[in-house]
């Protein structure tokens, strides 16, 4: 069986994805999870692992949740930037 990827590696990959998409596309948590499972493979990367990685990104403050008609994962926004 393939060795599972670490939470840190998934969190870093998620962060890069959010960073690359900043200002271009707002990503939902499910977008990130699907992308990670596809990137690392479902045998190495489970949804629970992705959930834990997302939690670490939020707890560390590297990413934040935002709301614009739906919930998204973004880099910390500028104060008062709501449209």
């Amino acid at each position: 069986m393939a060795e599972a990827v670490t939470v840190e590696a998934v969190a870093e990959a998620m962060y890069q994805m959010v960073k690359d998409a900043a200002g271009v596309k707002k990503l939902k948590p499910t977008d990130l999870t699907k992308a990670m499972v596809e990137h690392f493979g479902s045998e190495r990367c489970s949804k629970d692992l992705c959930k834990e990685a997302l939690r670490r990104l939020m707890d560390s403050g590297r990413c934040v949740y935002t709301y614009y008609g739906g919930s998204f994962v973004e880099l910390p926004p500028q104060e008062g930037a709501a449209a």
Binding site: K28, G70, S71, P77
Partner: protein, 403 residues
Amino acid sequence: MADEKQTPTTPNLDELERGPWPSFVREIKKAAEKSPMSRGLLGVLERSYTDKIGHWKHGGIVGVRGYGGGVIGRYSDLPEEFPEVAHFHTIRVNQPAGWFYTSDALRSICDLWERRGSGLTNLHGSTGDIILLGTRTEELEPTFSELTQAGFDLGGSGSDIRTPSCCVGPARCEWACYDTLNLTYDLTMHYQDEIHRPAFPYKFKIKAAGCPNDCVASIARADLSIIGTWRGPIQVDQAAVKAYTKNGIDIQADVVDRCPSKCMAWDGKALTIANEWCVKCMHCINVMTKALRPGPERGAAILVGAKAPIVQGAMLSSVLVPFMKLEPPYTALKDLVGKMLELWAEEGKSRERIGEFIQRVGLGNFLEAIGMEPRPEMVAHPRENPYVFYEEYLEEEPAEAKA
């Protein structure tokens, strides 16, 4: 700009103080006597009534560190004119199941909010949460810290599981067919991650009603409506029924004739019920509370899909499980909800509620995906489209038969 101490003149809002009923304007004015933020709110509201347009921007910030729900970001689009309400964020606080508080707990929230926010509250919002109206961004983390020290947590907002809510249930109501309070507390603790971290296409509301009276209106508002019900015959005390006739109740007109499924009969001496036709509307039980009681085997019906009109029109919940025993640790219910959430999270479109998702993919496909067998109780009404073909009719004849 609103004067720092003087309440602004509000001729338009003053109209909303007329009449004998409660007025939110009157309450804001009371708060404005000591809260600059409330004074600013009066100013910007008056301006909105004059301009016939809302002056709020919504969105952006949604929580405190680590949370994706519980804060609804709100900013004024007239920050120079009304600096007191340049930020006016709402905080949702997870209410206790059944909305039972001690006066000390309520005081601690009110005291906190007068220091950290506008002092204006809404108990309770339509989600069921305690709503704390109006604060600045820099006050969010300290408020959260004080709330947790007082034993409270933030509720849900955005695309997450919203704070589960319930009726008062067995705490004050003899019709409760299961312990709504215990279930709500259990689900709240079980879904902590999903309440605080949005992971779904859109919101998901859980409301638990103890009986078919559905005092929390779960059938109209909740994606997952858990409505108490029973199996077996309604329990009848014939002597008590007769006592009602002596006290002025017209059993035929007030009870029997109003039964929606016409399953009752009254011969002047005894009330008989064809229980197999009873649709559990609760009308007869509500009229004769001393004479009739729900059947002895109690549990809940699980319904799915209600929503208010946002992206699409309003929908009522429809039956998924006609009867389920609800006792701790509620494993069957959690398994079912887990399967539904996983499927919807995977396949749902952005801002698509689970009811809309079921309509889009079809109930048959939804049931197959979550591993449930279809049941007659799931059918809301007979099919309207005659152009429906079943797979057995579409099987092609073998090639040799054609030849």
